[in-house]
Symmetry: D2
Subunit: 361 residues, 4 copies
């Protein structure tokens, strides 16, 4: 699915630490599927000026079994709650969710929630349980700068398409899915991903991040310690951040829900490595899940058993979380393409040649 | 708006403690408006049996100024997160929300969110700010027992009607709005309200609760200490709870956001007074807000001032919260009418005569 | 250890629901040990009046293996944080603690922490790990009404005695250990305990509560629905609550840390059944732990396994938590003996004959 | 108090961003006082080898009025709860604490708590209130590598000395107070401080951090983006982190308690700028307080007023928090002196000349 023309940060000599998985993507975690629906159109101008649709929907299916709705162990963390991620109350309470995770723009959360529920009740191989309700996980960032967000252009059919197109393997980044109209450090941002493999007592585990990156002030941008924003010749100083960061972490390491909360909390350090101080307007919400469980249905019998790693073995996964989040955000920026959007607003892609020059060996 | 035919718990001799406001309703808090859209229809049966629509939408507008979107100071508490209340991350973070609070059925959260946002962006007197996004507060309980919940019968227009019909004064209870298809302690439940006035150092404050009550096992039902459930002759023992409780608390007492969190947490004690042990399947989510603020726009200038009560003056408000929540839940039950709904399921109203007989003076 | 002369609430016809364990005590959970050191002395009066020592220390050892420090899975919940329970940050983070749980008076938390640590580093069979530090769990309520709290009468030796005397079997209640100088609903309070056995899919589990009860206004006191406080002829109306409630829950049911948090949160409903509205000055802090684990050392190898009950099987344990907490508080009151303490303050025991008369069959 | 011989990070050409206050210290916030008691002694060796005391106590008094105990508005955040900070439950609940903040070693928390309480009840100008109990704020990091931590060498008198010596103006860093025996990134660590002044709508505010820095793996150490740890020629790879970070933030900006929680949470980003991924064994606990309030006694009358900055004006303070925390940690390291301690363990000071060479202009 990944276009051969998109550029990844590692292609630009950026010396990210750690060992990525095969695709350097969240889909390196076996069973995780990702699908997109990208919407891009120029509508007739109205009194306010050009009207552009630059938005979409991203679907993350926790594993290949997800078309049968089974519980996925998860943990949530809010670094700055200026945003929405539905389903978080139940993840906080019971440590799991069902169904796909959906990412879209802020004002399409309702439609994505509505359509995801419809998909779950009509299209999933939903094994009826005693609980007849579902609590979808839908998160957002705001693309109002490039997208006609109050045109509510995401429709139910788009949500189904994102879910139904979910696939394993390499995945597209940049101007795709929910990330289509996003900006990051006042460059074009969007969807990004990265992964790490770690070894814990001779067992190898994979952890991957997928981000919808839409935050940051140019002056703060830092990549692997280099103050890229300050070195940029065309520093933009709008004074205010106006964005958000959603991070979804997947791993095949067996973890307790309380441990997945700890993983989720570390996404903030990965975000921090890109330079931001965590501004007021940024809804920085993080969800981590594991695909490890002894059997598909975690809730069917009374007494069950759960594998997990002991607390003092988690450090490699904490490191992998920070590194994957950092790299996924930069990947979102290097894959993104310069976009002229709503009202003629411009979000320039970061210059690849210049960026690579900052990291020449 | 309240039908003269609905019965309130106090009409049945139930000796609730405390001093209610004029209407014994959340609308006793000056400025708070409540509106409903109630949906009830019998559709052609399908292969599964009778198909019934028994659902709706409730809108709570924090004050009469709410058609101009201004921040409302609020606090959130989850007693049991098996449910949804959107907008809670930002309330937890910054202590306020904008716009109405919407209550509906679990599978209409998406539509209510979508339509509430449309209402806010197109119908509200929305003073444009630097932040172009909105995070509506939408909560739910599950009416799948009586309502064709997977028919997704709530539409955007219904949401607008609920909001636009919001009014001050006495309000309807029972089978109205979001509470239309709800059950409570295996009787018919729904929407209920109650209020208290308290005096703190010679100043009078009002606090009111509105609940969407949809939880509880018959055997546990307790009203003012009387084990009504056990005394019921037709004890139903389905073994499992399958419901939720949403409580919205409004007050004109000036409170800090951190204090409103404390108010919200006390709703759990009011719920407990009705006898439940807080079961796994119940999404018990509580939001408390204050209408007290020095001026309509809380975010416009850099340095502002906020009135509040000192911590050691809060006890009367804590008591009012517990009492109002307790009474509002019982009001939801006494106002509710016996309902036959989806698949022919029956939710009987609690018998008024019998109930009153348990409390005869 | 329990004096045959202390009265338990069930001896007074109070119809508590549920099935208690053999001793109706936290020690019904196999392996849990409880020890006390009770301090009671009248010192020479000072300028302020009579000086009395009415305080002590309670030690709860999670299991018989606790003299070897092994991790105990646990969950914490704060209903009202006007109090101290050390060690809670790590329980929130990793879901376990090591060593005993200590309960004492508010101003002896430091000494109990200090001495508990000394006990752990010098007396426990402490298997040295890579982590050389310990984070004891020490909680408190305030006995300043009856005890010369600022005399700091708890010494390290008292803490050791409480731990070293910990035993299985029936345990003393009322004016013992940390509960020695406590008041409850303006009667004499103190230490109380109760337990329940529940059956979940044909397996029997035991859950027990131990409380240090030191909260409540007389007018609010409710026991099994009966408004005992209002029926009391000598209603005391001091206007302000000034106390706290510590609840420790033990169970042999296998539970995840996130599930133990849910158990802990339900202690609030048990507290609520005694009538309080949860006042500002009450530090209501709850800890729940399980003795179930596959092997003594939970942290030694990288990949481990943990048994647990599925979420939808937890309701009987939630019920047992609420019931045990309610009954343990009342047991603390019925076992307590009228006490004249510091400055001549009086805390009268609740009258047994009168109380029993309210519940005559 | 600061020795003229201690080196600060800015003296080594390190290009920290932002504008520090006069002393680049937490004491730049008017009214904040800091005192230390440093313990250093070599005791007769025992069977295990050399026995060394390398520990102490730090006292932070929120303002010059603190000898009269008045409430200080505060917010708490735990990034990783492997540590202790007492008093946090009440800060979470009500948003304030009373008295000094104490920092010491992990196993002296009890003694510091005990002695701080004694100080408050006997030495403070404590205006008696209706609440007769106090909940001191005491935090810790573990100096077991350099200090005979299980010798419990901190005594009550040392705590009093730290409090009584608290002063305004420039403050000592490195091997002083609670930081005496701490290590950071496998160099000698300890106590550090830094501050920033920011302008918000033409008003200048000061924010300062004081850290007790005792965490990190050499390989991760990053200073202003430079991978100092990797550039170090004598990389130490012990494999495991074994430490903690306590950060105390003071500001004179008027903030709500809920806003102070947000400030506290940003300390994690400052910690992250030094390179760590936030390891399991590190107790990273943060407290932020404001000295701004309309009058000394915040709890005396029922209805009060609190100044605050609107949410969208907080970004400069967020930035100041991240920057101050980052610089304070590095200051702790540059001020620290090579230490040989318990069992002959060595913690080398970072080499100033070499460090400066990495940042030559």
């Amino acid at each position: 699915m990944a276009s051969s023309s998109t550029t990844r940060a590692r292609d630009l000599n950026i010396p990210f630490p750690g060992q990525p998985g095969s695709y350097n993507a969240i889909t390196d975690v076996p069973g995780v599927l990702v699908g997109y629906k990208t919407l891009s159109a120029d509508l007739p101008p109205d009194a306010g000026g050009p009207v552009a649709v630059r938005t979409g929907v991203t679907a993350i299916l926790p594993d290949a079994h997800s078309r049968m709705l089974v519980p996925t162990w998860a943990g949530f963390s809010s670094f700055n709650g200026n945003g929405e991620m539905t389903g978080a109350h139940w993840v906080n309470e019971a440590g799991y969710f069902l169904g796909p995770i959906m990412l879209t723009n802020t004002h399409s959360v309702g439609m994505a929630h509505h359509a995801c529920l419809k998909w779950m009740t009509t299209r999933a191989e939903y094994e009826d349980t005693s609980d007849p309700w579902l609590l979808p996980v839908v998160a957002e960032t705001c693309d109002a700068y490039l997208n006609d967000i109050n045109g509510f252009h995401v429709e139910a059919e788009h949500v189904y398409e994102a879910i139904d197109s979910a696939a394993a393997g390499p995945i597209a980044e940049g101007n795709v899915g929910g990330g289509t109209g996003m900006s990051c450090y006042q460059f074009k941002g969007g969807t990004g991903t990265a992964s790490r493999t770690v070894s814990i007592e001779d067992t190898s585990y994979t952890l991957g991040a997928l981000v919808q990156a839409n935050f940051g002030l140019r002056k703060d941008l830092t990549i692997c310690g280099v103050p890229v924003g300050i070195l940029s010749q065309d520093i933009v100083d709008k004074g205010k951040d106006s964005g958000s960061l959603i991070v979804v972490i997947a791993t095949d390491a067996p973890l307790l829900p309380i441990q997945l909360q700890r993983i989720a909390r570390r996404c903030g350090l990965g975000m921090g490595r890109t330079g931001t101080a965590g501004y007021n307007s940024s809804g920085d919400l993080f969800m981590a899940f594991t695909t490890a469980r002894s059997k598909p249905s975690g809730l069917s019998s009374a007494r069950e058993s759960l594998d997990f790693l002991s607390s003092d073995q988690l450090d490699p996964l904490f490191g992998a979380t920070v590194e994957s989040t950092h790299e996924a955000i930069i990947n979102a920026m290097t894959a993104a393409q310069t976009t002229v959007g709503h009202r003629g607003h411009l979000a320039p892609a970061i210059d690849h040649k210049w960026l690579a020059s900052l990291f020449k060996p």
